[in-house]
Amino acid sequence: MEIKDLGRSLLRKRGTTVFLIIIASVVFVSILEPIFLRWSNIRSIMIGMSSDGLMTIAMTLVLVLGGIDLSVGSVAALSCVITGGLYLSGMDIWLAVLIALAVGVLVGLFDGIMIGKLGLPPFIVTLGMMSLARGGAYIFTQGSPLSLSGAPESFRFIGAGYIADVPVFFLIFIVLAAIFDFLMKHATVFRSIFYIGSNEKAAKLSGINVSKVKIWVYIVSALLATLAGILSLSRFNVATPSLGSGAETRAISAAVIGGATMTGGVGSVLGGVLGVILLNIVNSALIMLNVSVYWQDFVSGFILILAVTIDFLSHRKKS
């Protein structure tokens, strides 16, 4: 393939536009504020995006399926306080982690059965789960953050440790993103998520067990959110019932910026990762450039709409 063709083929890919916007943003901010490219800043952006990143992988999967998962932030909070609470009651921290993961599986199974088997709307089911999980976190802690001072170093390492000066939390996110991106592109069972999202009836007629796939996708989604909660607990050493408030909207934004649609059948984990990187770069850039705190949300919203519009128009033109 000639370089020109390769270039064209790359541009046709949805993520390429977002990638180019990220590069342009980094160059622009770095010219105005060179310390933006300092390793310590890049590292702080890495760790800052990791929790949202895990939830963005989850959200991309469910959006491609044609669903939505509004409960990711609340499930993260629930897993965070369950792990913290059980540890404080005297349980081994890793056993507490396993129990939190099991609760995550149950949450996903519940959502999956309601949506996949009974055919209830994902928006309503996960909206209900959002309240249930958040309510559960408040009941479990009686509203007070639980302090985990004295947690084992091995547990602190997964959320607060570094390998070669790169946050472990970020490495876990990137490795999982790479695995899920690969599976979404190459594994037959993950490809069926696209078929269901594009045309559920046709997928069913072609022999795909639609309800089973839906159940599995919601389990995976809840598990990723659970992991985000556990890693946040490890990072902050505090189990907070309000953790992850609003995380679902950030995950949806990142997935959609990365090319996923709200109608299903389209999207990629790599795109979601690029979306979450863009969101975090914009956030960091606004602070770096000393934009007033009262203007930050406004400017951030404007830039994101601009980014999505550029991506959408360039994609439409090409196709």
């Binding site: 504020e33 310390i35 300092r38 310590s40 800043n41 702080s44 952006i45 760790i47 800052g48 995006m49 929790s51 949202d52 309601m114 009974l118 209900g128 309240s131 249930l132 958040r134 309510g135 559960g136 408040y138 009941i139 009686q142 509203g143 007070s144 953050p145 639980l146 302090s147 001072s149 607060a160 946040s232 990072r235 902050f236 050493n237 505090v238 907070t240 019932p241 309000s242 953790l243 992850g244 408030s245 609003g246 995380a247 975090n280 956030n283 960091s284 602070i287 770096m288 000393n290 705190v293 009262y294 930050q296 949300d297």
Partner: protein, 330 residues
């Protein structure tokens, strides 16, 4: 299949109602004995209900308020209830307040997420004969009887004075808080005004950072601010999510020269004070706010001389450090 769906939908509804109950009204206080059975106006009827309504319900800050409210209620032998929405959302708080008022309690003590947004609801409740006082955050143009608070601006001032006392050479300060929340904004204003009025302190507010009411966001934004301005040597956290995030941010930035002062007395914050991550936290007179709110509500509901009510009560501030932190564990 349809009947299965119906049963499951029914089950869901029950679970949802349970969740709402858990999020909404909290436990009722046990009514104290009333052996004197109304022989004195200072002994109420156990059927009398008094509510405390807050936003961001469930935080330790409000728990301490409610503890005072509950204990005063027990002294009068009446029933107290706690209600609120777990978010800082103004509209949700208005809804919770309206729902509580619709139950026609004898009195409501409310802290206002937004002064103007709460005004109509408070006025309606007062017109319906419900005694209403505000605490911590006021709605000054409403018909509430009185306002009990430390005064958030005064609390911000106290934080600045304390920081100046432990940083005699001054320093550059970042304020981390929920932008747009009236109590935090007032604390920020009080802090900044004091530093401007006392330039000899050497304290200077160089950044205001939005924690968006959530600790991951607080960490993300504060972390970026520390990168943008390494001259920052103090972080003043004006609410609980900020306070829980700041020590992690400082640690991740590898900084050991940053002093952290916080607000509120969550157990986790007290632990961080004891292990040296936070220098001090400011405890506003939360117990007093609740206790005195209940006392005034009772007085008004029992036609005791309401004209004796002052329009504002200062409930005081305590600086909590490693020396006295143990007294604040709940």
């Amino acid at each position: 299949m349809n009947s299965k769906r119906l049963i499951l939908a029914g089950l869901l509804l029950v679970v949802a109602m349970g969740s709402v109950f858990a999020n909404g009204t909290g436990e009722a206080a046990a009514a104290a004995g009333t052996e004197n059975g109304g022989s004195s106006v200072l002994v109420g009827d156990p059927s009398e209900q008094y509510y405390m309504v807050t936003f961001t319900s469930g935080q330790d800050y409000w728990k301490s308020c409610y503890e005072g409210f509950q204990e005063a209620g027990a002294q009068f032998g009446i029933e107290t209830q706690y209600a609120g929405d777990p978010t800082p959302d103004v509209a949700k708080q208005v809804t919770v307040f309206d729902q509580v008022a619709a139950r026609r309690p004898m009195g409501i003590a409310v802290t206002c997420a937004n002064a103007e947004a709460m005004r109509e609801s408070i006025n309606r409740a007062v017109a319906d004969g419900i005694a209403v006082v505000t605490f911590d955050s006021d709605s000054p143009d409403s018909d509430r009887a009185t306002y009990l608070a430390t005064g958030n601006a005064a609390a911000g001032e106290e934080a600045a004075k304390y920081l100046a006392s432990i940083m005699p050479d001054g320093g550059n300060v970042a304020l981390l808080y929920l932008v747009g929340a009236e109590n935090s904004e007032a604390r920020a204003q009080g802090f900044e005004d004091w530093t401007i009025a006392n330039p000899e302190s050497g304290l200077k507010v160089v950044a205001k950072v939005n924690d968006r009411g959530e600790q991951t966001e607080a960490a993300r934004n504060m972390s970026a601010q520390l990168q943008a301005d390494p001259s920052i040597t103090a972080i003043v956290c004006l609410d609980s999510p900020a306070s829980l995030a700041a020590p992690t941010v400082v640690q991740e930035a590898g900084r050991t020269d940053i002093t952290i002062v916080t607000f509120d007395t969550d157990t986790a914050i007290l632990d961080m004070i004891k292990n040296g991550q936070i220098a001090a936290t400011l405890a506003q007179g939360t117990y007093n706010m609740g206790y005195l709110s209940m006392k005034f509500l009772y007085d008004m509901a029992h036609d005791l001389p309401a004209k004796a009510l002052p329009s504002y009560i200062d409930t005081g501030i305590t600086i909590v450090t490693a020396e006295n932190a143990d007294e604040y564990y709940m």
